[in-house]
Amino acid sequence: MDFLNGITLISNYILIPGLTYGSQLALGALGITIVYSVLRFSNFAHGEFMSFGAMSSILLCWLFLSLEINLNPLPTAIIVLPFAIIITIFYCILVDKIIFKFYRQQNSKSVINLIVSIGVMFFTGGLIRFIIGPGDKNFFDGERFILKAKTFKNYTGLSEGLALKTTQGITIVLSIILVILLFWFLNKTKTGKSMRAYSDNKELALLSGINPEKVVLITWIITGTLACVAGTLYGLDKSYKPFTYLHLVLPIFSAAIVGGVGNPVGAIIGGFVISFSELIVTFAYKKIFFYFLPNYLVPDGLLQILSTDYKIAISFIILVLVLLIRPTGIYKGKII
Protein backbone atom coordinates (compact mmCIF):
# COMPACT_ATOMS: atom_id res chain seq x y z
CA MET A 1 0.00 0.00 0.00
CA ASP A 2 2.75 2.39 0.94
CA PHE A 3 4.48 1.54 -2.28
CA LEU A 4 1.38 2.34 -4.32
CA ASN A 5 0.88 5.53 -2.37
CA GLY A 6 4.44 6.55 -3.16
CA ILE A 7 3.95 5.83 -6.85
CA THR A 8 0.73 7.85 -6.86
CA LEU A 9 2.48 10.71 -5.13
CA ILE A 10 5.22 10.75 -7.76
CA SER A 11 2.70 10.53 -10.60
CA ASN A 12 0.61 13.33 -9.21
CA TYR A 13 3.37 15.78 -8.44
CA ILE A 14 6.08 14.90 -10.93
CA LEU A 15 4.88 12.71 -13.77
CA ILE A 16 1.72 14.49 -14.87
CA PRO A 17 2.89 18.09 -14.39
CA GLY A 18 6.20 17.17 -15.97
CA LEU A 19 4.54 15.68 -19.03
CA THR A 20 2.29 18.71 -19.39
CA TYR A 21 4.92 21.40 -19.03
CA GLY A 22 7.38 19.28 -20.99
CA SER A 23 4.95 19.06 -23.90
CA GLN A 24 4.47 22.81 -23.89
CA LEU A 25 8.22 23.40 -23.84
CA ALA A 26 8.80 20.75 -26.49
CA LEU A 27 6.32 22.37 -28.88
CA GLY A 28 7.95 25.74 -28.31
CA ALA A 29 11.44 24.33 -28.73
CA LEU A 30 10.39 22.61 -31.95
CA GLY A 31 9.37 25.98 -33.34
CA ILE A 32 12.69 27.53 -32.45
CA THR A 33 14.66 24.57 -33.73
CA ILE A 34 12.87 24.54 -37.07
CA VAL A 35 13.39 28.25 -37.65
CA TYR A 36 17.01 27.79 -36.69
CA SER A 37 17.66 24.83 -38.95
CA VAL A 38 16.06 26.38 -42.01
CA LEU A 39 16.61 30.11 -41.58
CA ARG A 40 19.78 29.92 -39.50
CA PHE A 41 19.00 32.28 -36.67
CA SER A 42 17.79 32.18 -33.10
CA ASN A 43 14.31 33.60 -33.12
CA PHE A 44 13.80 35.54 -29.93
CA ALA A 45 10.36 36.56 -31.12
CA HIS A 46 9.10 33.00 -30.81
CA GLY A 47 7.74 33.57 -27.30
CA GLU A 48 5.71 36.49 -28.58
CA PHE A 49 4.52 34.40 -31.52
CA MET A 50 3.24 31.91 -28.95
CA SER A 51 1.61 34.74 -27.08
CA PHE A 52 0.08 35.97 -30.31
CA GLY A 53 -1.36 32.52 -30.93
CA ALA A 54 -2.81 32.38 -27.44
CA MET A 55 -4.29 35.84 -27.87
CA SER A 56 -5.91 34.82 -31.14
CA SER A 57 -7.43 31.83 -29.38
CA ILE A 58 -8.79 34.00 -26.59
CA LEU A 59 -10.33 36.54 -28.92
CA LEU A 60 -11.92 33.77 -30.96
CA CYS A 61 -13.11 32.09 -27.77
CA TRP A 62 -14.91 35.25 -26.79
CA LEU A 63 -16.42 35.47 -30.24
CA PHE A 64 -17.57 31.86 -30.19
CA LEU A 65 -18.96 32.15 -26.69
CA SER A 66 -20.90 35.23 -27.66
CA LEU A 67 -22.32 33.18 -30.54
CA GLU A 68 -23.03 30.44 -28.01
CA ILE A 69 -20.92 27.88 -29.78
CA ASN A 70 -19.15 25.60 -27.35
CA LEU A 71 -17.95 22.09 -26.90
CA ASN A 72 -18.93 21.34 -23.34
CA PRO A 73 -17.41 19.54 -21.44
CA LEU A 74 -14.29 20.33 -23.50
CA PRO A 75 -13.03 23.93 -23.48
CA THR A 76 -14.07 26.18 -26.33
CA ALA A 77 -10.41 26.77 -27.08
CA ILE A 78 -10.34 23.40 -28.85
CA ILE A 79 -12.80 24.50 -31.54
CA VAL A 80 -11.17 27.84 -32.13
CA LEU A 81 -7.65 26.43 -32.29
CA PRO A 82 -7.62 25.76 -36.06
CA PHE A 83 -8.73 29.32 -36.75
CA ALA A 84 -6.24 30.75 -34.29
CA ILE A 85 -3.52 28.72 -36.00
CA ILE A 86 -4.42 30.26 -39.33
CA ILE A 87 -4.25 33.77 -37.87
CA THR A 88 -0.88 33.06 -36.27
CA ILE A 89 0.53 31.58 -39.47
CA PHE A 90 -0.69 34.62 -41.33
CA TYR A 91 1.06 36.90 -38.86
CA CYS A 92 4.31 34.92 -39.05
CA ILE A 93 4.33 35.03 -42.83
CA LEU A 94 3.55 38.72 -42.81
CA VAL A 95 6.45 39.39 -40.45
CA ASP A 96 8.71 37.31 -42.65
CA LYS A 97 7.71 39.12 -45.84
CA ILE A 98 8.07 42.57 -44.33
CA ILE A 99 11.09 42.02 -42.11
CA PHE A 100 13.06 38.77 -42.18
CA LYS A 101 13.03 38.35 -45.96
CA PHE A 102 15.16 41.44 -46.47
CA TYR A 103 17.97 40.11 -44.28
CA ARG A 104 17.74 36.68 -45.87
CA GLN A 105 18.31 38.21 -49.26
CA GLN A 106 21.20 40.25 -47.89
CA ASN A 107 22.68 37.06 -46.47
CA SER A 108 23.06 38.83 -43.12
CA LYS A 109 24.95 37.25 -40.27
CA SER A 110 22.85 35.23 -37.89
CA VAL A 111 23.54 37.67 -35.10
CA ILE A 112 21.96 40.49 -37.10
CA ASN A 113 18.91 38.32 -37.65
CA LEU A 114 18.83 37.67 -33.93
CA ILE A 115 18.76 41.39 -33.18
CA VAL A 116 16.09 41.84 -35.84
CA SER A 117 14.04 39.17 -34.08
CA ILE A 118 14.33 41.22 -30.90
CA GLY A 119 12.79 44.13 -32.76
CA VAL A 120 9.99 41.81 -33.84
CA MET A 121 9.67 40.64 -30.25
CA PHE A 122 9.21 44.22 -29.01
CA PHE A 123 6.74 45.06 -31.73
CA THR A 124 4.68 41.91 -31.32
CA GLY A 125 4.71 42.21 -27.54
CA GLY A 126 3.45 45.79 -27.81
CA LEU A 127 0.84 44.84 -30.37
CA ILE A 128 -0.49 42.07 -28.16
CA ARG A 129 -0.69 44.27 -25.08
CA PHE A 130 -2.27 46.95 -27.18
CA ILE A 131 -4.95 44.61 -28.48
CA ILE A 132 -5.76 42.56 -25.40
CA GLY A 133 -4.21 44.49 -22.53
CA PRO A 134 -1.54 43.34 -20.11
CA GLY A 135 -3.85 41.73 -17.59
CA ASP A 136 -4.57 38.15 -16.66
CA LYS A 137 -7.04 36.36 -18.94
CA ASN A 138 -8.56 33.05 -18.05
CA PHE A 139 -10.23 31.51 -21.04
CA PHE A 140 -10.71 28.00 -19.77
CA ASP A 141 -14.25 26.70 -19.68
CA GLY A 142 -15.85 23.30 -19.53
CA GLU A 143 -15.11 20.47 -17.14
CA ARG A 144 -12.10 21.20 -14.95
CA PHE A 145 -10.91 17.67 -14.24
CA ILE A 146 -10.72 14.44 -16.15
CA LEU A 147 -9.89 12.65 -12.93
CA LYS A 148 -10.40 14.22 -9.54
CA ALA A 149 -8.12 13.43 -6.63
CA LYS A 150 -11.08 12.56 -4.46
CA THR A 151 -12.59 10.19 -7.00
CA PHE A 152 -9.26 8.47 -7.33
CA LYS A 153 -8.95 8.09 -3.58
CA ASN A 154 -12.43 6.69 -3.24
CA TYR A 155 -11.92 4.32 -6.12
CA THR A 156 -8.56 2.93 -5.08
CA GLY A 157 -8.70 3.40 -1.33
CA LEU A 158 -5.23 4.97 -1.36
CA SER A 159 -4.47 7.88 0.92
CA GLU A 160 -2.71 9.79 -1.87
CA GLY A 161 -4.84 11.33 -4.59
CA LEU A 162 -4.18 11.47 -8.30
CA ALA A 163 -5.71 14.28 -10.31
CA LEU A 164 -5.66 14.90 -14.04
CA LYS A 165 -6.81 18.31 -15.15
CA THR A 166 -8.58 18.61 -18.48
CA THR A 167 -5.96 21.06 -19.65
CA GLN A 168 -3.23 18.58 -18.83
CA GLY A 169 -4.97 15.84 -20.74
CA ILE A 170 -5.58 18.08 -23.73
CA THR A 171 -2.01 19.33 -23.70
CA ILE A 172 -0.52 15.86 -23.74
CA VAL A 173 -2.90 14.47 -26.35
CA LEU A 174 -2.65 17.45 -28.69
CA SER A 175 1.13 17.52 -28.40
CA ILE A 176 1.40 13.87 -29.32
CA ILE A 177 -0.86 14.37 -32.33
CA LEU A 178 1.03 17.43 -33.49
CA VAL A 179 4.44 15.82 -33.09
CA ILE A 180 3.36 12.72 -34.99
CA LEU A 181 2.00 14.90 -37.79
CA LEU A 182 5.18 16.95 -37.87
CA PHE A 183 7.45 13.93 -38.08
CA TRP A 184 5.27 12.32 -40.69
CA PHE A 185 5.50 15.50 -42.72
CA LEU A 186 9.26 15.88 -42.34
CA ASN A 187 10.14 12.25 -43.01
CA LYS A 188 7.52 10.97 -45.40
CA THR A 189 6.43 13.78 -47.69
CA LYS A 190 8.45 15.17 -50.54
CA THR A 191 8.01 18.72 -49.31
CA GLY A 192 9.10 17.77 -45.81
CA LYS A 193 12.17 16.02 -47.13
CA SER A 194 13.01 19.02 -49.26
CA MET A 195 12.82 21.15 -46.13
CA ARG A 196 15.28 18.90 -44.36
CA ALA A 197 17.48 18.92 -47.43
CA TYR A 198 17.42 22.71 -47.51
CA SER A 199 18.39 22.95 -43.88
CA ASP A 200 21.14 20.38 -44.42
CA ASN A 201 22.82 21.90 -47.45
CA LYS A 202 21.32 25.04 -48.85
CA GLU A 203 23.49 25.29 -51.95
CA LEU A 204 22.92 21.72 -53.01
CA ALA A 205 19.19 22.12 -52.38
CA LEU A 206 19.17 25.03 -54.79
CA LEU A 207 21.15 22.96 -57.33
CA SER A 208 18.55 20.24 -57.00
CA GLY A 209 15.86 22.70 -57.94
CA ILE A 210 14.28 23.09 -54.50
CA ASN A 211 12.47 26.40 -54.33
CA PRO A 212 13.84 28.30 -51.32
CA GLU A 213 10.88 30.65 -50.98
CA LYS A 214 8.54 27.70 -50.73
CA VAL A 215 10.70 26.10 -48.05
CA VAL A 216 10.70 29.34 -46.09
CA LEU A 217 6.94 29.64 -46.44
CA ILE A 218 6.41 26.13 -45.12
CA THR A 219 8.83 26.80 -42.29
CA TRP A 220 6.69 29.69 -41.14
CA ILE A 221 3.52 27.67 -41.53
CA ILE A 222 4.94 24.99 -39.25
CA THR A 223 6.38 27.55 -36.85
CA GLY A 224 3.10 29.44 -36.67
CA THR A 225 1.18 26.24 -36.00
CA LEU A 226 3.54 25.09 -33.28
CA ALA A 227 3.67 28.53 -31.70
CA CYS A 228 -0.08 28.93 -31.66
CA VAL A 229 -0.75 25.49 -30.19
CA ALA A 230 2.03 25.77 -27.62
CA GLY A 231 0.97 29.27 -26.62
CA THR A 232 -2.69 28.40 -26.36
CA LEU A 233 -2.02 25.26 -24.35
CA TYR A 234 0.26 27.13 -21.98
CA GLY A 235 -2.29 29.90 -21.54
CA LEU A 236 -5.09 27.40 -21.07
CA ASP A 237 -3.13 25.51 -18.45
CA LYS A 238 -1.73 28.42 -16.48
CA SER A 239 -4.01 31.33 -17.49
CA TYR A 240 -2.90 33.82 -20.10
CA LYS A 241 -0.73 36.81 -19.33
CA PRO A 242 1.25 38.50 -22.13
CA PHE A 243 4.12 39.17 -19.78
CA THR A 244 4.84 35.50 -19.03
CA TYR A 245 5.68 34.62 -22.60
CA LEU A 246 8.80 36.75 -22.62
CA HIS A 247 10.02 34.70 -19.71
CA LEU A 248 9.09 31.49 -21.47
CA VAL A 249 11.54 32.15 -24.30
CA LEU A 250 14.52 31.22 -22.22
CA PRO A 251 13.33 27.83 -20.96
CA ILE A 252 12.34 27.09 -24.54
CA PHE A 253 15.77 28.03 -25.83
CA SER A 254 17.23 25.91 -23.06
CA ALA A 255 15.13 22.97 -24.20
CA ALA A 256 16.18 23.44 -27.81
CA ILE A 257 19.86 23.75 -26.92
CA VAL A 258 19.82 20.92 -24.41
CA GLY A 259 18.34 18.65 -27.04
CA GLY A 260 20.63 19.91 -29.78
CA VAL A 261 19.65 22.95 -31.84
CA GLY A 262 18.36 22.05 -35.27
CA ASN A 263 17.32 18.56 -34.27
CA PRO A 264 13.54 18.09 -33.86
CA VAL A 265 13.85 14.93 -31.77
CA GLY A 266 16.32 16.76 -29.58
CA ALA A 267 13.88 19.62 -29.06
CA ILE A 268 11.27 17.23 -27.70
CA ILE A 269 13.71 15.39 -25.45
CA GLY A 270 15.09 18.76 -24.30
CA GLY A 271 11.63 19.96 -23.36
CA PHE A 272 11.07 16.98 -21.10
CA VAL A 273 14.57 17.11 -19.65
CA ILE A 274 13.93 20.70 -18.60
CA SER A 275 10.44 20.14 -17.23
CA PHE A 276 11.31 17.02 -15.27
CA SER A 277 14.51 18.49 -13.89
CA GLU A 278 12.56 21.49 -12.65
CA LEU A 279 10.16 19.24 -10.81
CA ILE A 280 12.66 16.69 -9.58
CA VAL A 281 15.06 19.27 -8.23
CA THR A 282 12.41 21.29 -6.42
CA PHE A 283 10.30 18.39 -5.17
CA ALA A 284 10.12 17.90 -1.41
CA TYR A 285 11.15 14.30 -0.95
CA LYS A 286 10.10 13.94 2.65
CA LYS A 287 6.79 12.32 1.81
CA ILE A 288 8.35 9.88 -0.62
CA PHE A 289 10.79 8.70 2.00
CA PHE A 290 7.88 8.44 4.34
CA TYR A 291 6.30 5.87 2.04
CA PHE A 292 9.41 4.03 0.95
CA LEU A 293 11.54 3.92 4.10
CA PRO A 294 10.85 2.59 7.57
CA ASN A 295 9.70 5.41 9.84
CA TYR A 296 12.83 5.73 11.96
CA LEU A 297 14.92 6.38 8.83
CA VAL A 298 12.82 9.28 7.56
CA PRO A 299 14.93 12.40 7.99
CA ASP A 300 13.73 15.81 9.15
CA GLY A 301 13.24 18.75 6.84
CA LEU A 302 11.53 18.93 3.47
CA LEU A 303 14.47 17.37 1.66
CA GLN A 304 14.36 19.72 -1.27
CA ILE A 305 17.47 20.02 -3.38
CA LEU A 306 16.54 23.59 -4.28
CA SER A 307 13.68 25.68 -3.01
CA THR A 308 10.63 26.02 -5.26
CA ASP A 309 11.47 29.68 -5.77
CA TYR A 310 14.24 28.57 -8.07
CA LYS A 311 12.01 26.43 -10.27
CA ILE A 312 12.40 28.44 -13.44
CA ALA A 313 16.04 29.21 -12.78
CA ILE A 314 16.75 25.50 -13.08
CA SER A 315 16.24 25.60 -16.83
CA PHE A 316 18.92 28.27 -17.04
CA ILE A 317 21.25 26.27 -14.82
CA ILE A 318 20.79 23.23 -17.05
CA LEU A 319 21.39 25.43 -20.06
CA VAL A 320 24.68 26.63 -18.63
CA LEU A 321 25.71 23.10 -17.70
CA VAL A 322 24.95 21.82 -21.18
CA LEU A 323 26.83 24.68 -22.79
CA LEU A 324 29.77 23.83 -20.58
CA ILE A 325 29.81 20.10 -21.04
CA ARG A 326 28.32 19.43 -24.44
CA PRO A 327 27.48 22.55 -26.47
CA THR A 328 26.02 20.45 -29.27
CA GLY A 329 23.29 19.14 -27.00
CA ILE A 330 22.12 15.61 -26.31
CA TYR A 331 21.47 14.88 -29.96
CA LYS A 332 24.26 16.42 -31.93
CA GLY A 333 22.67 19.57 -33.25
CA LYS A 334 24.23 22.14 -35.46
CA ILE A 335 26.63 24.22 -33.47
CA ILE A 336 25.55 27.82 -33.65
Partner: protein
Protein backbone atom coordinates in the same frame (compact mmCIF):
# COMPACT_ATOMS: atom_id res chain seq x y z
CA UNK B 1 28.15 20.63 -82.83
CA UNK B 2 28.51 20.24 -79.05
CA UNK B 3 25.59 19.15 -76.92
CA UNK B 4 26.62 21.57 -74.21
CA UNK B 5 28.84 24.39 -75.33
CA UNK B 6 30.24 27.34 -73.46
CA UNK B 7 31.39 29.63 -76.20
CA UNK B 8 33.87 32.45 -75.81
CA UNK B 9 33.19 32.84 -72.11
CA UNK B 10 34.59 35.65 -69.99
CA UNK B 11 33.60 35.75 -66.35
CA UNK B 12 34.87 36.03 -62.80
CA UNK B 13 34.10 37.10 -59.26
CA UNK B 14 33.18 40.73 -58.87
CA UNK B 15 35.47 42.87 -60.98
CA UNK B 16 38.20 40.24 -61.15
CA UNK B 17 37.99 38.11 -64.26
CA UNK B 18 39.08 34.49 -64.05
CA UNK B 19 38.17 33.19 -67.49
CA UNK B 20 39.05 34.93 -70.73
CA UNK B 21 37.30 33.96 -73.97
CA UNK B 22 37.16 30.33 -73.02
CA UNK B 23 35.56 27.54 -75.04
CA UNK B 24 34.49 24.31 -73.36
CA UNK B 25 31.98 21.72 -74.46
CA UNK B 26 30.91 18.10 -74.62
CA UNK B 27 29.37 15.96 -77.33
CA UNK B 28 26.37 13.72 -76.94
CA UNK B 29 27.22 10.47 -75.17
CA UNK B 30 30.84 11.45 -74.73
CA UNK B 31 33.17 12.44 -71.94
CA UNK B 32 34.99 15.76 -71.86
CA UNK B 33 37.58 16.70 -69.29
CA UNK B 34 38.79 20.12 -68.30
CA UNK B 35 42.32 19.90 -66.96
CA UNK B 36 45.01 22.33 -66.00
CA UNK B 37 47.03 23.61 -63.06
CA UNK B 38 45.58 25.11 -59.90
CA UNK B 39 43.94 28.44 -60.46
CA UNK B 40 43.45 27.83 -64.16
CA UNK B 41 39.75 28.54 -63.80
CA UNK B 42 38.50 24.97 -64.22
CA UNK B 43 35.91 25.08 -61.45
CA UNK B 44 34.94 28.60 -62.47
CA UNK B 45 34.17 27.30 -65.93
CA UNK B 46 31.90 24.66 -64.42
CA UNK B 47 30.06 27.19 -62.30
CA UNK B 48 29.65 29.48 -65.28
CA UNK B 49 28.21 26.67 -67.37
CA UNK B 50 25.69 25.83 -64.68
CA UNK B 51 24.65 29.44 -64.18
CA UNK B 52 26.12 29.82 -60.71
CA UNK B 53 28.20 32.76 -61.90
CA UNK B 54 27.06 35.63 -64.08
CA UNK B 55 28.77 35.70 -67.45
CA UNK B 56 30.20 38.92 -68.82
CA UNK B 57 30.71 37.75 -72.35
CA UNK B 58 29.96 34.74 -74.46
CA UNK B 59 27.07 32.32 -74.46
CA UNK B 60 26.09 28.88 -73.31
CA UNK B 61 24.22 26.56 -75.59
CA UNK B 62 22.50 23.34 -74.59
CA UNK B 63 21.15 21.14 -77.36
CA UNK B 64 20.91 24.07 -79.73
CA UNK B 65 19.15 26.31 -77.24
CA UNK B 66 20.72 29.43 -75.76
CA UNK B 67 20.59 29.04 -71.98
CA UNK B 68 23.01 31.83 -71.07
CA UNK B 69 20.59 33.66 -68.83
CA UNK B 70 18.73 30.71 -67.38
CA UNK B 71 18.75 30.20 -63.59
CA UNK B 72 20.29 26.91 -62.36
CA UNK B 73 16.92 25.47 -61.37
CA UNK B 74 15.70 25.90 -64.94
CA UNK B 75 18.85 24.22 -66.26
CA UNK B 76 18.13 21.20 -64.13
CA UNK B 77 14.77 20.97 -65.82
CA UNK B 78 16.40 21.34 -69.24
CA UNK B 79 18.58 18.30 -68.57
CA UNK B 80 21.72 19.32 -66.74
CA UNK B 81 23.03 17.69 -63.60
CA UNK B 82 25.81 19.15 -61.48
CA UNK B 83 27.93 17.55 -58.77
CA UNK B 84 29.86 20.18 -56.82
CA UNK B 85 33.31 19.39 -55.54
CA UNK B 86 32.50 19.69 -51.83
CA UNK B 87 29.29 19.56 -49.81
CA UNK B 88 27.66 17.56 -52.54
CA UNK B 89 25.35 15.43 -50.41
CA UNK B 90 22.70 16.00 -47.74
CA UNK B 91 24.47 14.40 -44.77
CA UNK B 92 21.48 14.04 -42.46
CA UNK B 93 19.20 12.58 -45.09
CA UNK B 94 19.27 8.89 -45.93
CA UNK B 95 20.84 7.69 -49.16
CA UNK B 96 17.46 7.14 -50.73
CA UNK B 97 16.22 10.57 -49.65
CA UNK B 98 19.35 12.11 -51.16
CA UNK B 99 18.50 10.48 -54.45
CA UNK B 100 14.86 11.54 -54.19
CA UNK B 101 15.97 15.12 -53.70
CA UNK B 102 17.88 14.83 -56.97
CA UNK B 103 14.58 14.18 -58.67
CA UNK B 104 12.83 16.98 -56.83
CA UNK B 105 11.88 18.85 -59.99
CA UNK B 106 10.44 15.71 -61.60
CA UNK B 107 6.70 15.47 -61.30
CA UNK B 108 6.35 11.77 -62.02
CA UNK B 109 7.41 8.72 -60.09
CA UNK B 110 11.13 8.22 -59.65
CA UNK B 111 11.28 4.54 -58.70
CA UNK B 112 12.62 3.59 -62.14
CA UNK B 113 15.48 6.02 -61.86
CA UNK B 114 16.17 4.77 -58.34
CA UNK B 115 16.48 1.24 -59.67
CA UNK B 116 18.86 2.42 -62.36
CA UNK B 117 21.04 4.19 -59.81
CA UNK B 118 21.09 1.17 -57.52
CA UNK B 119 22.10 -0.95 -60.49
CA UNK B 120 24.89 1.48 -61.30
CA UNK B 121 26.04 1.73 -57.66
CA UNK B 122 25.04 -1.53 -55.94
CA UNK B 123 26.61 -0.40 -52.65
CA UNK B 124 24.00 2.29 -52.32
CA UNK B 125 21.23 -0.29 -52.49
CA UNK B 126 22.61 -1.91 -49.32
CA UNK B 127 22.86 1.42 -47.59
CA UNK B 128 19.67 3.00 -48.86
CA UNK B 129 18.28 3.72 -45.39
CA UNK B 130 21.56 4.82 -43.88
CA UNK B 131 22.34 8.51 -43.39
CA UNK B 132 24.51 9.77 -46.21
CA UNK B 133 26.74 11.55 -43.73
CA UNK B 134 27.76 8.22 -42.25
CA UNK B 135 29.14 6.83 -45.51
CA UNK B 136 32.76 6.62 -46.62
CA UNK B 137 34.24 9.19 -48.98
CA UNK B 138 33.88 7.03 -52.08
CA UNK B 139 30.31 6.08 -51.24
CA UNK B 140 29.46 9.72 -50.69
CA UNK B 141 30.73 10.52 -54.17
CA UNK B 142 28.49 7.78 -55.52
CA UNK B 143 25.53 9.30 -53.71
CA UNK B 144 26.43 12.71 -55.10
CA UNK B 145 26.68 11.41 -58.67
CA UNK B 146 23.52 9.37 -58.20
CA UNK B 147 21.65 12.41 -56.97
CA UNK B 148 22.64 14.40 -60.05
CA UNK B 149 21.64 11.52 -62.32
CA UNK B 150 18.13 11.25 -60.90
CA UNK B 151 16.67 13.73 -63.40
CA UNK B 152 18.03 11.66 -66.31
CA UNK B 153 20.15 14.60 -67.44
CA UNK B 154 21.53 14.95 -70.93
CA UNK B 155 24.73 16.30 -69.47
CA UNK B 156 26.29 15.40 -66.15
CA UNK B 157 28.84 17.86 -64.82
CA UNK B 158 31.37 16.63 -62.27
CA UNK B 159 33.60 19.03 -60.38
CA UNK B 160 36.69 17.06 -59.33
CA UNK B 161 34.91 13.80 -58.57
CA UNK B 162 38.14 12.14 -57.40
CA UNK B 163 39.10 14.81 -54.88
CA UNK B 164 39.83 13.23 -51.52
CA UNK B 165 39.30 9.57 -52.46
CA UNK B 166 41.90 6.83 -52.72
CA UNK B 167 43.36 5.81 -56.12
CA UNK B 168 41.50 2.50 -56.12
CA UNK B 169 38.17 4.16 -55.50
CA UNK B 170 39.03 6.77 -58.06
CA UNK B 171 39.53 4.09 -60.67
CA UNK B 172 36.17 2.57 -59.82
CA UNK B 173 34.57 5.97 -60.05
CA UNK B 174 36.06 6.61 -63.50
CA UNK B 175 34.76 3.24 -64.64
CA UNK B 176 31.33 4.32 -63.55
CA UNK B 177 31.71 7.59 -65.41
CA UNK B 178 32.51 5.67 -68.57
CA UNK B 179 29.49 3.50 -67.96
CA UNK B 180 27.27 6.54 -67.52
CA UNK B 181 28.52 8.02 -70.77
CA UNK B 182 27.96 4.71 -72.57
CA UNK B 183 24.35 4.77 -71.41
CA UNK B 184 23.92 8.03 -73.30
CA UNK B 185 24.56 10.76 -70.76
CA UNK B 186 27.29 13.14 -71.75
CA UNK B 187 29.80 13.83 -68.97
CA UNK B 188 31.76 17.01 -68.55
CA UNK B 189 34.25 16.92 -65.72
CA UNK B 190 37.00 18.91 -64.11
CA UNK B 191 39.91 16.86 -62.86
CA UNK B 192 43.12 17.26 -60.95
CA UNK B 193 44.23 13.77 -61.94
CA UNK B 194 44.62 14.82 -65.54
CA UNK B 195 46.22 11.62 -66.81
CA UNK B 196 43.49 9.28 -65.63
CA UNK B 197 40.78 11.68 -66.68
CA UNK B 198 42.13 12.16 -70.17
CA UNK B 199 42.46 8.38 -70.60
CA UNK B 200 38.71 7.97 -70.45
CA UNK B 201 37.84 11.24 -72.17
CA UNK B 202 36.86 11.75 -75.76
CA UNK B 203 37.76 15.40 -75.57
CA UNK B 204 40.14 17.32 -73.34
CA UNK B 205 40.39 21.03 -72.66
CA UNK B 206 43.66 22.21 -71.17
CA UNK B 207 43.21 25.55 -69.45
CA UNK B 208 45.89 27.81 -68.10
CA UNK B 209 45.34 31.15 -66.43
CA UNK B 210 41.79 31.28 -67.66
CA UNK B 211 42.58 30.64 -71.32
CA UNK B 212 42.30 27.68 -73.65
CA UNK B 213 45.79 26.29 -74.15
CA UNK B 214 45.06 23.03 -75.94
CA UNK B 215 41.90 21.38 -77.11
CA UNK B 216 42.10 17.91 -78.58
CA UNK B 217 40.97 14.33 -78.10
CA UNK B 218 41.96 12.78 -74.81
CA UNK B 219 44.49 10.41 -76.33
CA UNK B 220 46.26 12.94 -78.49
CA UNK B 221 46.56 15.28 -75.52
CA UNK B 222 48.13 12.44 -73.57
CA UNK B 223 50.64 11.98 -76.36
CA UNK B 224 51.27 15.69 -76.86
CA UNK B 225 54.78 16.30 -75.59
CA UNK B 226 54.16 19.86 -74.52
CA UNK B 227 51.08 18.94 -72.55
CA UNK B 228 52.82 16.01 -70.91
CA UNK B 229 55.74 18.11 -69.78
CA UNK B 230 53.79 21.08 -68.57
CA UNK B 231 50.72 19.48 -67.01
CA UNK B 232 51.01 15.73 -66.76
CA UNK B 233 54.33 15.49 -64.99
CA UNK B 234 56.39 14.09 -67.91
Amino acid sequence: MYLLFGENITCGYGSVDILFNCDVGVNEGEISSIVGPNGAGKSTAMKALFGLLPIKQGKIILDGEDITNMPPRQRVLKGMGFVPQTNNIFPSLTVEENLEMGAFVEQHDCTKMLEYIYELFPVLKDKQFQLAGELSGGQRQQVAVGRALMTKPKVLMLDEPSAGVSPIIMEGLFNKVTEIANQGTAVLMVEQNAKQALKISNLGFVLNQGKNLFTDTGNSLLENKEVRQAFLGG
